[in-house]
């Protein structure tokens, strides 16, 4: 082991402990954790068929949260869809956290949101808009730049909530949900902020470019029944179902959370982000294994200590196999490790995927149920893994730890480990 690794472990163990004390989300099959969780345990996928500009009908995960619950109609008109998702999730997370918002020093609050991409939706909309006016750019909206700056979703949250601490987004392809949480944990450990709103968000279903890109890559999922279109690990899987969504957490240092008597949902135990450095779209299982192993090492855990592995698998032909290869390399002889997948219910929520998939598993700390990966009619032998929970949830003796995988294009890998608070 390189000395740098040892130093990394020592540094992490000596830093402040970070905990989750609030959570707000919108997923295609739920606008609260309780609704989301109930549908995951009941095996209820929710995928719609939408008209995609220039492309006709395709399956997609669509969220139906109440946009006017936390925003005025003018805010909605000026802002972006992902800004609205971010505000809804942040406000819901705040309510869940029990923080007395009036007494919180807003200059000590940070907003760190993971995004796969931003600006495609708004740019495509304006190109379409001016196409109705002979492509005359004098019809291009003056709202374009504030809508498309990369910090837009996080910035909209600060304006809505009066937060004056730092805000930015973390662009990390489909690893972004984990990356947002990791960034927040690091900023809390550095003492940059006292409270962080962090997670991942996506509005990607509103851009035809992403649909067209995946379709022409041979990676866009389809099925006569849209709820079966996203089917990771199934032998006949044929690609990704694009979805929108968001999951934003309230993170604090443990000492602060204890001092205010907060309900602690989970503790951030360890993480790793690394890079394949090999291919823009083809995952690298060796680097993925290294990512998971480093997260375990930093958490002070062995593979056997992980009770749930929340997989990233997106239902692409090769990507699923690559992740399974990576997991088989790490999780050998781990009889208590269960493996599941949430995209089979809600599609691929892009920047929100990792954050939502972690959220759906968190109630396992309390109820000891593990939701399955659904839509497996015939398991791909190359995706067979001991512990894979298929089509039906299972009850286990205990769930103390969750490892959440999120990987993305350009070879970005992330693994985040959370544990039940109070467990050694």
């Amino acid at each position: 082991m390189a000395s740098g690794h040892l130093m990394g472990e020592r540094q992490m163990s000596s830093k402040p402990r970070i905990v989750i004390t609030g959570l707000g989300l919108t997923a295609p099959n739920g606008n609260s954790l309780s609704e989301f969780r109930a549908n995951l345990l009941a095996g209820k996928a929710r995928i719609a068929v939408i008209d995609v500009r220039h492309m006709g009908q395709h399956p997609a995960g669509v969220c139906d949260f109440d946009t006017t619950k936390w925003q005025k109609r003018k805010e909605l008109r000026i802002g972006t869809r992902v800004g609205s998702i971010s505000i809804f999730c942040s406000r819901e997370a705040l309510g869940d956290s029990g923080l007395d918002w009036d007494k919180v020093d807003k200059s000590r609050v940070g907003v760190y949101l993971g995004i796969t991409e931003h600006g495609n939706v708004e740019t495509e909309n304006e190109i379409h808009n001016i196409s109705q006016f002979g492509n005359d750019t004098k019809y291009w909206t003056h709202h374009h730049n504030p809508r498309t700056v990369a910090n837009n979703p996080a910035g909209e949250v600060t304006m809505n909530m009066g937060i004056t601490g730092p805000h930015y987004t973390i662009g990390a392809a489909c690893a972004a949900g984990n990356a947002g949480l990791i960034q927040a944990a690091q900023m809390l450990q550095l003492g940059e902020v006292d409270i962080a709103f962090a997670g991942g968000v996506s509005e990607s279903i509103h851009t035809f470019g992403i649909f067209a890109g995946f379709k022409n890559q041979g990676a866009l999922g389809a099925h006569g029944d849209p709820t079966k279109a996203s089917r990771p690990f199934d032998k006949n899987r044929n690609g990704i179902v694009i979805s929108e969504g968001g999951a934003i957490y309230v993170l604090e240092r443990l000492d602060d959370a204890l001092a205010r008597g907060a309900r602690i949902i989970a503790e951030i135990a360890g993480w790793c982000i690394n890079s394949d450095a090999t291919d823009a779209v083809l995952p690298n299982p060796e680097r993925q294994s290294e990512c998971v192993r480093m997260a375990l090492k930093r958490a002070g855990m062995k593979p056997q200590d992980i009770h749930i592995v929340s997989t990233h698998a997106t239902a692409t032909a090769l990507g699923d196999i690559q992740e399974c290869t990576a997991l088989r390399n790490v999780f050998t002889d781990c009889p208590d490790t269960k493996i599941n997948n949430t995209k089979s219910f809600i599609g691929h929520c892009m920047g929100a995927a990792g954050a939502l998939e972690l959220a759906g598993n968190l109630p396992s700390f309390e109820d000891n149920w593990v939701h399955p990966t659904i839509n497996i009619d015939e398991l791909d032998p190359e995706c067979a893994m001991p512990g894979l929970v298929i089509n039906q949830p299972i009850k286990v003796a205990r769930v103390d730890t969750i490892l959440n995988n999120s990987f993305g294009m350009l070879g970005i890998n992330s693994a985040l480990i959370v544990k039940k608070y109070g467990v050694a």
């Binding site: 003018k74 008109r77 109705q132 006016f133 002979g134 019809y139 909206t141 003056h142 709202h143």
Partner: protein, 101 residues
């Protein structure tokens, strides 16, 4: 330049529009860009910014909607003419009437 017909559709022949018609055009635009505002008691002689929550970006929206919906151009130097409903009517009426000719 291929503008859709709807851009040029007026409920009233522009040549016959009155100042009250112009005020209603502007109020309809404001209703879209400031949907949380109550417009029932807007005073035509008072500056819009003094009685409604409108900022500079909103006034740019008014300019844009006049352009997109009615084919009316308001040069930047004339933005001040959009301060109140009365000033809007005075400034825009000849522009609308010119559209009907």
């Amino acid at each position: 330049m291929g503008l859709p017909d709807t851009v040029w559709a007026f409920e009233t022949n522009p040549e016959n529009m009155t100042k009250d018609d112009i005020k209603q055009v502007v109020l309809d635009i404001i209703a879209d860009i400031a949907p949380d505002e109550s417009l029932a008691a807007v005073k035509p002689e008072v500056r819009l910014r003094d009685q409604l929550s409108l900022d500079s970006m909103d006034f740019l929206d008014i300019v844009m909607e006049l352009r997109k919906k009615h084919g009316i151009e308001v040069p930047e130097a004339d933005y001040v003419q959009l301060a109140s409903l009365d000033s809007c009517a005075n400034y825009l009426l000849p522009k609308f009437q010119a559209k009907g000719k």
